[in-house]
């Protein structure tokens, strides 16, 4: 596995975040807020794969994941006027909506997240799938593939216990108290791991973060 992340790759991702090649995401959202359903279709073509993969990672069942993504894009459609570019990218906005919907559905059904099942398997590589799986990713555009690759590389750099608590919080929607109970470890240990892991991840991903890239 290649451990060095080239500068060029980061720049490809950044170029896409700035929407240089196609209709910018923000323009799509503006068209959506005006009731243009073709723009919603384009937004789905661009980010539907990301949303679906996130939903599957959280709720596991494909039928549930479809419901989550349909709900999430329905919410994006109805509330596009509230999207504020100053608070983050369109992709981040959609991911937040999708994750919230997915965790709500899990809680409503009293089910455990897929992340918990994964965590129970000791010695796994965490949630991050083998890189070979990425060839079938449905998202259009090499940039999203590149972002996936970068984030997974960075996650793989973390000590496994740190990565696990971050994944349990993000994909499982668990508080650190719940994670401590799940893993049967002291709460202080979990808090320390989460903080250390996020700090390290922040450093590794700095080129993708606003105000921290060089």
């Amino acid at each position: 596995m290649q451990k060095t992340i080239s500068r060029v790759n980061f720049e490809a991702v950044l170029a896409n975040q700035q929407g240089q090649s196609r209709w910018p995401d923000g323009a799509l959202v503006a068209r959506i807020s005006a009731g243009d359903d073709r723009a919603l279709g384009e937004l789905y073509d661009r980010h539907g794969g990301m949303a679906y993969a996130l939903a599957v990672a959280i709720v596991a069942e494909r039928a549930d994941a479809e419901e989550v993504v349909a709900d999430a894009f329905g919410q994006a459609w109805r509330t596009a006027l509230q999207f504020d570019p100053g608070r983050g990218s369109v992709a981040a906005w959609l991911a937040t909506i999708t994750r919230t919907r997915a965790l709500d559905l899990l809680r409503a059904r009293g089910r455990r997240a897929r992340a918990l099942e994964r965590a129970a398997q000791a010695g796994t590589n965490g949630l991050a799938a083998p890189l070979a799986e990425m060839a079938v990713a449905p998202d259009r555009g090499a940039e999203q593939q590149e972002a996936k690759r970068l984030v997974r590389h960075c996650l793989a750099e973390l000590p496994e216990p740190q990565r696990r608590v971050i994944e349990l919080a993000y994909f499982g929607g668990l508080t650190h108290t719940e994670i401590a109970a799940e893993l049967q470890e002291p709460l202080g240990t979990i808090k320390t791991r989460m903080r250390a892991g996020m700090e390290k991840l922040r450093g590794l991903l700095a080129p993708l973060l606003s105000g921290e890239g060089s």
Binding site: Q18, G19, W23, P24, G26, A27, V29, A30, S33, A34, G35, D37, L40, G41, G48, G49, M50, Y52, L54, V56, A57, R62, E66, V69, A70, F73, G74, W77, R78, T79, A80, L81, Q82, P85, G86, G88, S89, A91, T96, E133, P138, K148, L150, V151, R152, E167, A169, Y170, G173, T175, H176, I179, M194, R195, M198, R202, L205, L208, L209, S210
Partner: protein
């Protein structure tokens, strides 16, 4: 708790991993700590990138059509015209009481507005163009929205020709669960919804809203409403401001 201890909660807060009590305490602290707000912002971006860690999984082809079909049945939320409300007189009185601190608010709002506009431009060229065009349009009017003598406050830029309002809100904690904030234009004595909004954990928001055609107004107001907004205000406004041409 010392400031250092608060700072250590920022990453977990961004991940949504704090318990309800911890979160409430931290959000209270956030309202007065710019350092922690910046940490939350940075860790929020890190959290946002975690979506890419989900294993690839292809949605079924019919999901796209399902989404479009459901969308066609329901239009996006937009501004609606609403009937007269009795709290207008109170709003008008508050507006008359404005004036003190106007210059200060105006300067601070303009400065923050500029930096927020820059952040917006990084994400989308189209949003930037629309926002800047509104701010720079020859007919732009401005309003300083304030409550009775203390934060929160808001700054509003209104371009009749572009039918856009750009609003910058300061020091307004996010609305509680199940509630939202709603911006109203007061047109010939009637409140007309310009849209609903919520602030970030740092108490701020910059947003552009579309104004209905042929609507002219001089007074704007903000109320807190049930989630999804109300057809007409259900509460007294806590922020009001009169639009003045610059």
């Amino acid at each position: 708790m010392t400031d250092h201890q608060w700072l250590e909660l920022a990453a977990s807060y961004a991940l949504g991993a704090l318990t309800a009590d911890e979160r409430a305490g931290f959000e209270t602290h956030l309202a007065e700590c710019a350092t922690c707000r910046a940490e939350v912002q940075a860790y929020g971006e890190v959290t946002g990138l975690l979506v890419h860690a989900a294993p690839a999984s292809a949605p079924p082809p019919e999901l796209r059509e399902r989404i479009l079909r459901e969308a066609r049945r329901r239009r996006p939320l937009g501004p609606r015209r609403v009937p007269v409300a009795p709290w207008l007189a109170a709003a008008a009185c508050l507006v008359l009481a404005l004036g003190t601190g106007y210059g200060y608010l105006r300067e601070r709002a303009a400065r923050d507005q500029a930096s927020r506009a820059l952040a917006a431009a990084r994400d989308t060229l189209a949003a930037r163009d629309s926002l800047v065009a509104t701010l720079l349009s020859p007919d732009v009017g401005t309003a300083a929205l304030a409550g009775p003598g203390r934060p929160p406050s808001a700054r509003l830029f209104w371009s009749p020709s572009r039918r856009r309002v750009v609003m910058a809100v300061f020091d307004l904690p996010p609305a509680p669960a199940g509630r939202t904030y709603q911006l109203w234009a007061i047109a010939q004595g009637k409140p007309v919804s310009l849209g609903i909004f919520n602030t970030a954990p740092d108490g701020r928001l910059t947003a552009a809203m579309v104004v209905p055609p042929n609507l002219s107004f001089e007074v704007t107001a903000v109320t807190e409403e049930p989630a999804g907004g109300s057809p007409q205000p259900t509460q007294q406004p806590f922020l009001t401001g009169k639009v003045a041409a610059d």
